[in-house]
Symmetry: C2
Subunit: 475 residues, 2 copies
């Protein structure tokens, strides 16, 4: 960290910086006290001229909260997000300039989490007696917080539970949305633990141009896709925030507890909220945090507030749970542990997350076999060469090839995957052949999902979403 | 408003002020970036020494948001509060320098409400066929919003409902707390309408140093005093926010709807919140707003969202409902109507509201006859003269005499009150006699309240607080 001034501020940038801060407050004060327009205008002019001087001297915009010599968390300013090279990660935006995608090792350092290393994977294998999921073997779930503590508890026969979720922003889910659920189902199977799934329809109502009714209807539709992943109805509770908040004796109490212990300054720092954001957004992080505490679910856990929670999620959700882990000890609850996944790349390349609103950026769970073939052939960014001759001579680049990336997510056979990597890299395998390998995996995968989803009735959704005892006994 | 500097800051207090502001931000920044303890400690020391210098020079504590020349909220600037002469009114502070109390006519202009005039009182009398309550006859309920609209609806046989509330900050309630409930009971009787009573234990948990359990236990204790006011169990639903939020299918949905339509800038302007306030406080106004909409109570109103709400409350609660009325049309609900009361003066004088934490500022509902006599005789601010001779010659001043003010609240007989006013003003009545008149009213009033409260069992509290149909049919 750069040096910070300890003496009386005296150098010009610092003085200017102080004046800007004071003048901003002054403008706010004038506005709040309904001062005359002239008075406000003149104060605003003054502020602008101070800012201009600052920029001229310092060479960049002034930013509240950090002295000129003292870069803010992250790297230079603004919310606690990742900005190494050109990467940016928060719950709403994932951006990188690299075709290889986000630099995840850097992200671990910046977020202060821990790498899922070979040793941890071996320990999971020993504890469960099961071969680690391909998402672990291939570094798709790559980062964690306190997973060793969960394993300690598990090995000592102490209970824990899984918590994951989905923001139902539309009816359409794509394959990328399945990643946390596929992994969570595996965790549920190998550890034999209860699972709660939050459908944050309140969040989507607050952030999107949706009615409450639309947001809730997306909850029901998305719940079908989640159930189709094969969760055990006797071990799984799926809940809509909009509905469950009005049915649970513990949920709102935990929300209020968390809200008492987090300031606007903190959510501003973590999520980048501004004064123009609605108070719903500002207070929502507490709603996503609350299910980390077991007494939100007395029907499952009785009155126990001390059952360890493990949250599998994409790493962009980590800011919510950094906040949760900060609050937990102050309100007498255990910190939730986390398992973080990388992002599922868009067909166009790993620079961005997939988008539910762009039909060609993703393979949707409703796509036909033909649509899948067309999308992969037409839109999947290729690491191949411009001509067959060049490709045979120099080989393709698996690091940027989206079809290959998708295979790492969905092809179970490690040997086959390694063979494809070698063949494509050497040029022995052509782009068309690589794409065909992916299509051959995706078509049955999606068709089987669709078949399972068809079996999911409204009654089953209702049962998954009914607060009830699960097949576990907690006291 | 005092002059504010327009040129480059140069005078010492302003420079110090700027440095304090900047140093505060710097400390926050260090904490957010997890700087070393030494670094933070040294920055905090620096901040404290700057504050000490400021206080030595300026003569008062530095306050963020306002320049040294520009006094902080409470007298000249800050949130949308009343600032005429020295009056200040918001939900947490009521302050005036006048022994006569707040200038309520000015408050009506500043809040943009309407005066309850003779014409409106006559209309209430015609509509209900009942003599107007003494609180109306004497200007204790003095201001309203849309009461004519409520009467239009009533005369057209359209339903409306009453909503009032209490923040249960301690077990102890004083007579001033009864004012809205005494009046609400009268409204319920003469209009024959349902009533919902919000116990905002979540608010008290957020604002005070209380646990959730303490806040809820105060809810139960205070509910007994409210029930002892004589509310009809078949027409009244009392609810704890902490409890009912987890029992109602509609409450949280309305809270989220309101939260989507109010920004931090708005609550900052209305309530004076700052960036250091917890997100619970910032979002709470939506919880107080929501019961203004009938679909928070489907057990009473079915699925109807359009039933007019009338809120009797002390005028310091108006900021919440100004906000509510601003949001209502944007989310498709009717604006609640309001009836505003003046404040019940402290025994020491009308400059402040009574305080539940100062036992001598109020007559408590638990006081014995002897305590009442002692408090009135010893602490009730008197408008009498220094000697009997002077008093006989010049008379007393009813405008500042707290015993007389209390009589306007509790003595039902208009002629007797007018006689006392004349006799005390002329000097025919001495201060001791006036105090005795008040003691003779208060002692049986409190004793009867205590007797009624004794009759209130835990089962009755439970029944009042159970969501259920009331004796009305809405469809």
């Amino acid at each position: 960290m750069a040096d910070v001034p300890n003496g009386q501020p005296s150098d010009a940038p610092l003085e200017l910086y102080n004046s800007i801060l004071a003048q901003s407050e002054h403008v706010r004060c004038l506005k709040a006290s309904k001062a005359s327009k002239d008075e406000i205008d003149s104060a605003v002019q003054k502020l602008l001229s101070l800012k201009t001087s600052y920029k001229a001297i310092v060479g960049e915009e002034s930013k509240p909260g950090c002295f000129p010599e003292n870069p803010a968390p992250g790297s230079k300013s603004g919310p606690e997000a990742t900005k190494g090279s050109e990467d940016f990660v928060d719950p709403w935006t994932v951006r990188t300039s690299s075709a290889k995608g986000i630099d995840y090792d850097k992200l671990i350092v910046q977020f202060g989490s821990s790498k899922i290393d070979k040793e941890l994977i071996n320990r999971i294998e020993r504890a469960t007696g099961q071969r680690p999921h391909r998402f672990l073997r291939r570094g798709i779930f790559f980062s964690h917080r306190d997973m060793n503590q969960v394993l300690d508890a598990y090995e000592n026969k102490k209970p824990f539970y899984l918590y994951t979720g989905r923001g139902p922003s539309s009816e359409a889910m794509h394959v990328g949305h399945l990643i946390p659920f596929i992994f969570t189902k595996w965790l549920q199977d190998v550890f034999n633990v209860p699972l709660v799934v939050q459908m944050s329809d309140d969040e989507k109502y607050l952030w999107k141009d949706l009615t409450l009714e639309q947001a809730y209807s997306y909850t029901l539709e998305n719940a079908k896709d989640i159930i189709a992943c094969g969760f055990d109805i006797n071990k799984t509770f799926i809940f809509s925030d909009l509905e469950y908040m009005g049915m649970s004796p513990g949920f709102y109490k935990n929300v209020v507890k968390i809200q008492k212990h987090v300031t606007f300054n903190q959510v501003k720092g973590i999520f980048g909220f501004t004064d123009s954001d609605c108070i719903g957004k500002i207070s929502f992080p507490a709603v996503q945090a609350a299910p980390s505490f077991s007494n939100c679910f007395p029907q499952i856990f009785g009155d126990r507030a001390d059952i360890q929670c493990l949250i599998p999620c994409a790493i962009d959700q980590d800011p919510y749970f950094r906040m949760t882990r900060d609050v937990a000890p102050r309100i007498g609850y255990p910190k939730p542990a986390l398992l973080h996944s990388t992002f599922f790349p868009a067909l166009q390349g790993a620079q961005t997350k997939m988008s539910a609103s762009d039909p060609n950026s993703s393979i949707f769970l409703t796509d036909t076999a033909k649509q899948i073939r067309t999308k992969v052939n037409k839109h999947a960014f290729s690491g191949g060469r411009d001509t067959v001759e060049e490709h045979r001579q120099f080989g393709g680049n698996c690091d940027v090839d989206v079809s290959f990336m998708y295979l790492t997510f969905f092809l179970e056979d490690d040997d086959r995957l390694e063979q494809i990597r070698k063949d494509y890299t050497s040029g022995a395998m052509l782009t068309g052949e690589l794409k065909k390998a992916l299509i051959d995996i995706l078509q049955p995968l999606i068709a089987e999902h669709q078949a399972r989803r068809k079996e999911v009735t409204d009654e089953m959704v209702k049962e998954f979403m009914t607060p009830r005892q699960l097949s576990f006994h907690f006291q």
